[in-house]
């Protein structure tokens, strides 16, 4: 078995929250373990506030974890990374308007990184930066442009070029297409797909958009309230989702085709990460919840490479039935 490109092991991230005199701990990421093979694209999906972005920031070395480790090619990265370690994992941000320094030209942003890591000498820096721009589908003249002269999609391409500039071993794209128009989203997704072929790119693709994940990812991890509840290949997970939360996400995602599993849409908000429910953290919203879901945290149920943390994994038929019986489901679909 090959060494995984990225291996996240039992990662916890906590933020102190002070409301009045009460000090609480917000468990943004609460024990996440996941692997990524070289030149694989792993999607991470989940609702807002489930800890996706925090996980991305920890992987990219921008936030320090409370506990657990991030390993790159089998070597654990320390919480405070060296310049070389920092360089190895690059992030693409959600809002291309906020992720580029408005005072610097595109060329200045790129060459600054090329210098820092001694990638090319000054004589060839422009040539190299223009190569990068062409690689992400921008004309070479974008070198002299400032961010405000570019469209959202073009800015995001610059953001990708910036991530590629330092020749990283892994890219973390945090909602990299969420802020873009739909047609531009497709173009950026195609760009990722192309780069993956031409550069053997390894990528963590974080999104709440299941169709985007389906389009470019090899495997998907579903996150709920700081924990991964299901991991599997895109095909397996989308055709035979094991976790009721995954089924609910699939059902809620607008699609032209019929989804394999029909489940009632979820109601209510996810619980606050300040007060994580006992047992299975999904049980308050779960149509399938039984007694032990309130008490015991579920262990992984495996079907080959496809794993689900649910006491009633893959009980697909029951879901539909239970959904119909579920009071909330009835209220929504009388």
């Amino acid at each position: 078995m090959t060494t995984p490109r990225l291996s996240v092991k039992d990662l916890h991230v906590q933020f102190p929250v002070r409301s009045g005199h009460r000090k609480q701990t917000l468990r943004a990421v609460d024990g996440v373990s996941v692997d990524l093979k070289p030149s694989e694209i792993l999607g991470i999906v989940g609702e807002s506030g489930c800890g996706k972005s925090t996980l991305a920031r920890v992987i990219a070395g921008l936030t320090e974890p409370a506990h657990g480790s991030v390993e790159l090619d089998g070597r654990p990265l320390p919480p405070r990374r060296t310049v070389q370690e920092q360089r190895a994992i690059q992030m693409v941000f959600q809002d291309p308007g906020a992720s580029l320094n408005p005072r610097l030209t595109v060329g200045a942003v790129l060459t600054e990184l090329l210098h820092r890591h001694g990638i090319v000498d000054r004589a060839r820096e422009r040539e190299r930066a223009e190569d990068l721009l062409r690689r992400v589908g921008l004309p070479a003249r974008a070198y002299d442009a400032r961010p405000r002269q570019l469209s959202g999609g073009q800015r995001q391409r610059v953001g990708i070029a910036r991530a590629l500039a330092v020749e990283p071993r892994l890219i973390v794209a945090d909602e990299a297409v969420a802020a873009l128009d739909v047609s531009v989203q497709a173009a950026i997704l195609n760009l990722f797909a192309d780069l993956r072929v031409s550069l053997a790119l390894s990528m963590v693709f974080i999104s709440h958009d299941l169709s985007a994940v389906q389009a470019i990812c090899d495997r998907v991890a579903v996150m709920y309230l700081g924990k991964i509840v299901e991991v599997g290949s895109v095909d397996e997970l989308f055709s035979a989702p094991g976790h009721p939360y995954t089924r609910a996400l699939l059902a809620a995602s607008p699609s032209l085709e019929e989804t394999a599993a029909v489940a009632p849409p979820l109601t209510g908000e996810p619980p606050s990460p300040l007060r994580v429910p006992n047992g299975c953290r999904f049980h308050p919203r779960c149509p399938l919840a039984v007694e032990k879901c309130h008490i015991a945290e579920p262990q992984w149920e495996m079907q080959g490479e496809h794993r689900t943390a649910c006491h009633r994994a893959w009980e697909v038929d029951d879901v539909t039935a239970a959904g119909a019986r579920h009071p909330r489901g009835i209220a929504l679909n009388p």
Binding site: R57, A60, G61, L62, V83, Q84, Q86, R87, I89, Q90, M91, F93, Q94, D95, A98, S99, L100, N101, P102, R103, L104, A108, E112, L113, R116, H117, R122, G159, R162, A165, V166
Partner: protein
């Protein structure tokens, strides 16, 4: 290898490299006239401190364009000579607090924690102190101090008070802008790219945090001149006989009913400078919002 000047240019806030809009240009033209007068005016007029008690309080004439004051000094010459004093003082009274405030504000905003608390409590302390008392305190010293570097006779103690008090506004401005900018994604991107902390501060944070301060600094020159004029008017400013607009208004006010131009002329000079600087500041602000 880029030139040193080129590198410096990229560190400058965009505001200082931008073109101004029409009203900004109008303001710049007025300011330019003031600066020109400040530099060459002194060589074109008569001695501004030469007394002529025989011709005191003379009305405007071909010989004395704005008449003479109570000691027979030519008002026009004094007005021109005062331009240099007030402009030089105004710019220094902006630059020195700007330098102090930028450093302290940047430290407070970037480091946070104890440094932030100490600097900001110091700012509160300074702001709650009645400034006029400080001026009273240094007024005695002002009469006996000589020129110091760019400062004329008697100006050093006054400038020290301006520096002690003026940095607070700049520190607060810079601090709040740094707090805003340091949370931007492009700062994370710079950190993620492995750039050094000094480089992130100098190239990514400060150029985005400073422009608002530049706008204020331009207007602040006018405010400083106005403050100097105010304290001179109270008799606490630049000591006689050196001409200064506020002191001239003070000298002339008892003759307001007969020789009103003794007050109005320096008043217009102050107002004109203030308006010019306000127009430039406004123009810069508009340009940066674009």
């Amino acid at each position: 290898m880029r030139s040193y000047a080129g590198r410096l240019g990229s560190l400058l806030p965009r505001a200082t490299r931008l073109k101004l809009d029409r009203k900004g240009k109008f303001g710049a033209a007025i300011l330019g006239a003031y600066v020109l007068v400040a530099f060459v005016g002194l060589y074109l007029v008569r001695d501004p401190v030469q007394q002529d008690l025989v011709h005191r309080l003379a009305g405007p004439s071909w010989h004395h364009w704005l008449g003479t004051d109570s000691l027979g000094r030519d008002m026009f010459s004094r007005l021109i000579a005062a331009t240099r004093t007030d402009l030089r003082f105004g710019f220094l009274a902006m630059l020195i607090p700007l330098a102090i405030g930028t450093v302290l504000g940047a430290v407070a905003g970037y480091l946070g924690g104890i440094a932030d608390s100490v600097i900001m409590r110091l700012a509160d302390l300074v702001q709650s102190f009645p400034v006029i008392l400080l001026f009273l305190g240094v007024a005695a010293a002002a009469g006996t101090t000589d020129s110091f570097l760019l400062l004329g006779p008697g100006e050093l103690p006054i400038m020290i008070v301006f520096a002690l008090v003026g940095w607070v506004v700049y520190a607060r401005l810079i601090r709040s802008e740094i707090l805003r900018v340091r949370n931007m994604d492009y700062i994370d991107a710079a950190r993620g790219g492995g750039l050094s902390t000094p480089r992130i501060i100098v190239r990514h944070i400060l150029p985005n945090a400073i422009p608002q301060t530049v706008v204020y600094a331009v207007v602040d020159v006018g405010l400083a001149v106005l403050s100097l004029a105010s304290i001179s008017y109270l008799g606490l400013g630049i000591p006689a006989p050196n001409p200064e607009w506020g002191a001239m208004i003070n000298d002339g006010q008892i003759y307001l009913a007969q020789q009103w131009w003794l007050v109005v002329a320096p008043g217009i000079a102050i107002a004109g400078l203030g308006i010019a600087l306000a127009l430039i500041g406004d123009g810069l602000d508009d340009e940066m919002r674009r």
